[in-house]
């Protein structure tokens, strides 16, 4: 039986749209019908605007007709879900926070404008941990997203809605943001491809800032090819984000195809520090099997060392909270966002608006970040963490003298049960052990499906690339993907 429209790959749908076998309106209607059928159980969306989506689909069909057979961008007419932390003009932008419960974006993020320019349909506002702070999407102020593979479990986070929507057939692909693993970890827990680009590859303009030196926007998709297509559309320098770099954006899929044709044998590094205590045995076995598959392809696999790995989480939770305390200072109840009704003066307005508007994890991180930056503690915490960041980055660059890419598990465990770690922030933080170093070092990283546990939960393989070598990273990921059919499995909902 052929897959339902809502389960097809982006590439397949794009071909069918181009051939005229399918209209964008039919595709959008299929995705909306699927969303209505499963959303009560999945709860991936904070909101969606059905009429707006259908209007976008009709406009796409009209554009295609007007081109009279001339080729369109591969994203023309494709519904792409958007994490509710990325601005879409005229649509809500809540960051899953009471603070922004009624906020409407006055403008498009650069990635949104780029998707629209490519012809994609911006579809829905996807749930997340409040202000992208968390690893389970349980920190949302509006509701907990379920993992479509097991509704009792979390989809990962913070981009849990972005992952769950694509896994459940409620979007063909989606955008998330990744500060410490927030794209790769939920992708792993939901049997998807999730890509965090190199820092500076994609503009952050219009992304609500969490930790500005770590945040990157990236795609969720069902295949490496689809992720590469979305990445190509959103990449590039933007004068509105001075940290986006002036580098040419390659045609990723053409680059992947060329590398595959060349039959290049990759040199892959396996960091011994990523296979120690805390790694679930079933996850470890699936990752080993994937490494064996690379060996069988003729890749050279060798052990490498990233000796500062054990310090990554500590350094991250100093740097990320410091940056978050600074970024979230803008939420003061004055110009936008929640304003307390019973403030007696201006100062009281700040204290009460922030107390009422922010949820517990956001408060904890603002407090921690304020502390590590405060007078007398800056050198001991923040400056030291930045120096450790240098050492972590150096570890990776040292390893890349010997290997093309690094292969690891994405998450130490498969999806955990809702509530399991909710009361213990530190346990939740430790879950990010394999993804955080990549953000600190600014590297591109991808998670791809690499199997299932005996209980039917997805497992992800992380491939970490060299700075700005996304094409090579995607080619390494694609080489393994082509030997498996994990991507063809869909959750039964």
């Amino acid at each position: 039986m052929p897959d339902a429209l809502y389960n097809c790959t982006l590439a397949d749908l794009s071909r069918r749209l181009a051939k005229g076998e399918l209209s964008s309106l039919e595709l959008m209607q299929s995705v909306i019908a699927r969303t209505k059928a499963v959303e009560g159980r999945v709860r991936a969306f904070n909101s969606y605007d059905e009429q707006d989506a259908l209007a976008q689909a009709r406009a796409s069909d009209e554009r295609r007709a007007a081109r009279k057979g001339a080729p369109s961008h591969p994203l023309e007419g494709i519904p792409i879900g958007i994490k509710d932390v990325i601005s879409v003009a005229g649509q809500p932008l809540t960051a899953s926070s009471r603070m922004l419960a009624n906020f409407v974006s006055p403008y498009d993020a650069t990635v949104t404008a780029k998707l629209k320019a490519a012809g994609a349909l911006c579809w829905g506002r996807l749930n997340l941990d409040e202000f992208a702070m968390g690893s389970s999407t349980e920190n949302s102020a509006f509701g907990v997203t379920s993992n479509p593979w097991d509704l009792e479990r979390v989809p990962g986070g913070s981009s849990g809605g972005s992952a769950a929507s694509v896994a459940a057939g409620e979007a063909v692909a989606s955008l998330g943001s990744d500060t410490g693993g927030s794209i790769r970890q939920p992708a792993a827990l939901c049997n998807l491809v999730g890509l965090k680009p190199s820092y500076g590859r994609v503009s952050r303009y219009g992304l609500i800032a969490f930790a500005s030196s770590l945040d990157q926007i990236g795609p969720f998709a069902r295949t490496v090819e689809d992720a590469a297509t979305v990445l190509g559309a959103i990449s590039g320098h933007d004068r509105r984000d001075s940290t986006s770099l002036k580098m040419e954006v390659p045609d990723y899929n053409r680059g992947i195809a060329e590398l595959v044709r060349s039959g290049r044998k990759w040199k892959l590094g396996i960091p011994k520090e990523y296979f120690g205590e805390g790694l679930d045995p079933e996850v470890g076995a699936a990752v080993q099997a994937a490494i064996d598959a690379y060996r069988r392809m003729g890749c050279e696999v060798r052990e490498v060392s990233l000796p500062h790995t054990k310090y990554a989480i500590a350094a991250y939770y100093i740097i990320a909270t410091a940056e978050c305390s600074s970024n979230l200072a803008r939420f003061d109840g004055v110009r936008y966002g929640h304003r307390s009704k019973d403030a007696k003066d201006a100062l009281d307005l700040y204290f009460k608006s922030r107390a009422e508007g922010f949820g517990p994890e956001v408060k904890r991180r603002i407090i921690l970040g304020t502390y590590v930056l405060s007078s007398g503690y800056y050198d001991a915490y923040y400056l030291r963490a930045q120096k450790v960041r240098t050492l972590i980055r150096r570890d990776f660059l040292e390893a890349y003298k010997e290997v093309d890419a690094i292969v690891t598990p994405t998450s130490p465990t498969p999806a955990f049960k809702k509530g399991e770690k909710a009361a213990n922030p530190l346990a939740m933080y430790l879950n990010d052990i394999y993804t955080i170093g990549v953000n600190l070092a600014g590297l591109p990283g991808i998670s791809i499906p690499c199997g299932f546990t005996g209980g039917g939960l997805p497992i992800g393989l992380q491939v970490i690339g060299q700075p700005f070598k996304e094409t090579e990273l995607l080619a390494v990921a694609s080489a393994y993907e082509q030997t498996t059919d994990w991507r063809n499995r869909h959750p039964s909902l």
Partner: protein, 96 residues
């Protein structure tokens, strides 16, 4: 590195301009204590002579052409204001 007991929650929440309830103070105090104890792990690292990294790929002197272009309209800028009047944000009185 400072000791976990150096952390004074009331002082820091004042700096951060966040009121906490008594229950939050107790819970966050314990949770942040755990995190601070964990972070002390960084004491082990020899960072002598190591330069700090603020950005993975630092860029400096990013210039843009000074070209006027339309920005947010007053209406759009005030669209999300909690309280507005005569094209302005209304705030509590700040002078006597």
């Amino acid at each position: 590195m400072p000791k976990p007991e150096d952390f004074k929650l009331d002082h820091v929440t004042n700096l951060a301009r966040i009121n906490l309830s008594a229950e939050e103070k107790e819970r966050f105090g314990a949770q942040l204590g755990d995190v601070l104890a964990y972070i002390a792990l960084l004491n082990e690292v020899n960072v002598e002579g190591v330069e700090p990294t603020a950005h993975a790929f630092p860029v400096v002197n990013v210039w843009a052409e000074d070209v006027p272009e339309p920005g947010l309209s007053v209406e759009d800028a005030l669209r999300n204001a909690p309280e507005k009047r005569d094209n302005m944000f209304v705030v509590p009185k700040v002078v006597e």
